[in-house]
Symmetry: C2
Subunit: 408 residues, 2 copies
């Protein structure tokens, strides 16, 4: 069995499982409990919080554990609007057309409640232009949310540049108010917050929040060899946000519900395993495998398009259009050989709709249906890649022959 | 180390951990993925869904996995209001004064948005009077939410009786409409939904949803020797509810976010371990230990009040007022001896506020502060109970001597 779908999820690292082990039956207490069982659980959570704070370069108090990135994204969007809709008449959110559904859908939901949302376009690589963010910002803009890495094609968005733009606009608003508004006793202008969904970036890129100039950042455990069902959100001190899930005042009132101690311990451990040295080593190794795959496939199969811009993407992604070979059929044929790939994002794979990400990149609907995604992981090998290169041409050839329109 | 705080959380059962084991690194796929890794994860989730459906006597399609009971409760309240506020001008919710914060707080939040909420009183045992529910129902009532078992004192609420009342009112509304409204083409009256937070009941009482006459039921894994960070909500087919956490359309669009496969597998296994036979056996065993504790304490310590109505409570609860001995001091003294108890609900234990549950039961603020809670589990022993009976009198005596007002 060969696994090339690491963007969908990853196996838990043995070290992660080992770190979690004592929290199932020994230190199993509820961290809200005062007694020793509870306090030993608190120690586990605290350790994870330190690991996360170190990873993201923030304060421990700025880390809030959630049930995953989806919850974190929902909290970022709805939690900010919940506070600010009482302060601003028509709050405006800026996001991109290629966000994960966990951003797009809450945005659409907020639109149905009268919130204004701008969905920025991307270029053919899938990249948002920071200038577009700048131009989209209006008087009533309260939040910009752009993902760090797109899960489908792997493109890395210019988060730092966007962050700096938002920061500069906030500064100039404040200065303008100091210059003219303060004397007139006008209300101090609120900040525009910048959120990024970094779920797909954590394995590969620098996620230091100060370097990224972000105010909020979401991520998930199961994409980084940690457990499913746990994630976190970094929320910069001072950000006005209201909880969505209420009851019990956990996580300093931002996210209620008994803390998922084992999950949190696993998430912390998984983050701590992504050291600078290992990241560099893994990135190099994975990139070499990805390039071997891409080149091998393109050399052996005609009429293939690589949709992943390798220079600006994760080292793990290879999103390929194998013209004439329907993506799902390729997936199933490879699966039959024990090789797991994807047709795009796992979250949307049960639906047959064409990828909105590829559409935004200008990929035709036809090419979109002829696409598959490989996402490599740290345990993949050259032999596994070579097996794909050996098998895939036959599969594509067969499917092309069966295709009533391709090449006809 | 002796653990008497099973209402706060329980250790994971070894069988639960064993069931989860293959889903960490072997069947680790994302259940949204089409390939074998994904489909093997789907099998695990499906099995858990069957286990849950069997336990609650419902259809598989009526089980929705969440991150815990807190999320399930929030979803029940806000999800129903989200749909119905567009259909009914001023929706009205009926709940009780002794609900968990995961019900009380979303209710207060909804109140701030203009939703009407009635908080029913309880008698001195902590029990809601079903007649009070009946009398509180109004034209605009859309939801009744009463917990099955209160975590602090262990009282079992008359869910079946309340369920039947709600059902009867729904029927009579429909009949009335058939008789007079249908001809006049009046809109068909909506049903009043009945939700119960069964988190503290699952270990002990029949949770068959049809016998309980409930439309929605919440529960959590970690209270039943399963993992933390996972729970579920039963939602009867036809209930109008809108998702709160969006993105990816998981769980038939009711709860988005990558499924916590290992957690779900563990939750299903934990439910399957609560067989009728084991439940009866454990209930008997735990009740005998609890009675041994209560009687031993009351025989050996004067001026003690038992706040748990043993006839109508779980077999596990013993909520005691040890007059003159401050609850937190007793807790810490016992903790020093390796014995874990609680002063009430773990979720509120970090705050010093007096218990709203005890207040609603008519317990004085003073007595409330002199209270501790024992909640027994299936692995407790008579020797553990005897240790408490031996140690507690000395602790109470010492604290009473230090108390500047008690007995003075």
């Amino acid at each position: 069995m060969i696994y090339f779908d690491h963007s969908a999820t990853t196996p838990a690292d043995k070290k992660v499982l080992k770190a979690m082990e004592p929290y199932w039956r020994e230190n199993f207490g509820n961290p809200s409990s005062i007694h020793a069982f509870g306090q030993r659980a608190v120690l586990g959570v605290d350790r994870a919080r330190v690991q996360a704070a170190e990873f993201f370069g923030c304060e421990r108090e700025e880390i809030f554990f959630t049930s995953g990135a989806t919850e974190a994204n929902n909290l970022a969007l709805r939690g900010i609007i919940k506070v600010l809709k009482n302060e601003i008449a028509h709050p405006h959110i800026i996001t991109s057309k290629i966000e994960h559904d966990a951003i797009i859908e809450p945005c659409r939901d907020l639109e149905s409640e009268g919130i204004e949302v701008t969905y920025l376009p991307v270029d053919k690589r899938g990249m948002v232009n920071p200038e577009d963010v700048k131009n989209a910002i209006k008087e009533n803009t309260v939040l910009v949310s752009v993902m760090y890495v797109n899960s489908e094609v792997g493109i890395r968005e210019p988060i730092r540049e966007i962050g700096k733009i938002v920061e500069k606009i906030n500064e100039s608003r404040q200065n303008e108010w100091q210059r003219t508004g303060a004397a007139k006793k006008l209300p101090k202008p609120g900040a525009i917050y910048f959120h990024t969904d970094a779920t797909q970036a954590v394995n590969f890129f620098d996620c230091h929040v100060k370097k990224l100039h972000v105010d909020l950042l979401s991520m998930s455990g199961h994409k980084i060899y940690g457990p499913k069902g746990v994630g976190l959100i970094y929320i910069k001190k001072g950000v006005k946000i209201s909880p969505i899930q209420l009851g019990g005042h956990h996580e300093r009132n931002i996210r209620s519900g008994t803390l998922n101690v084992t999950g949190i311990v696993g998430l912390g451990e998984a983050l701590s395993l992504i050291t600078e040295a290992d990241k560099e080593k893994n990135n190099k190794k994975i990139a070499a495998l990805r390039d071997r795959l891409v080149e091998g496939v393109m050399e052996n199969i005609p009429d293939v398009v690589l949709n992943t811009d390798r220079e600006n993407s994760t080292p793990a992604h290879a999103h390929l259009t194998l013209r004439g070979a329907e993506g799902e059929s390729v997936l199933i044929s490879l699966d039959f050989e024990g090789i797991a790939v994807s047709t795009g994002s796992a979250c949307a794979s049960n639906s047959l709709k064409s990828s909105e990400v590829l559409e935004a990149m200008g990929v035709s609907e036809e090419d979109s249906h002829y696409s598959i995604r490989f996402t490599l992981g740290k345990d993949n090998t050259a032999a596994e890649i070579d097996k794909v290169i050996k098998i895939l041409p036959g599969i594509v050839e067969k499917l092309r022959k069966m295709n009533p329109v391709y090449g006809k």
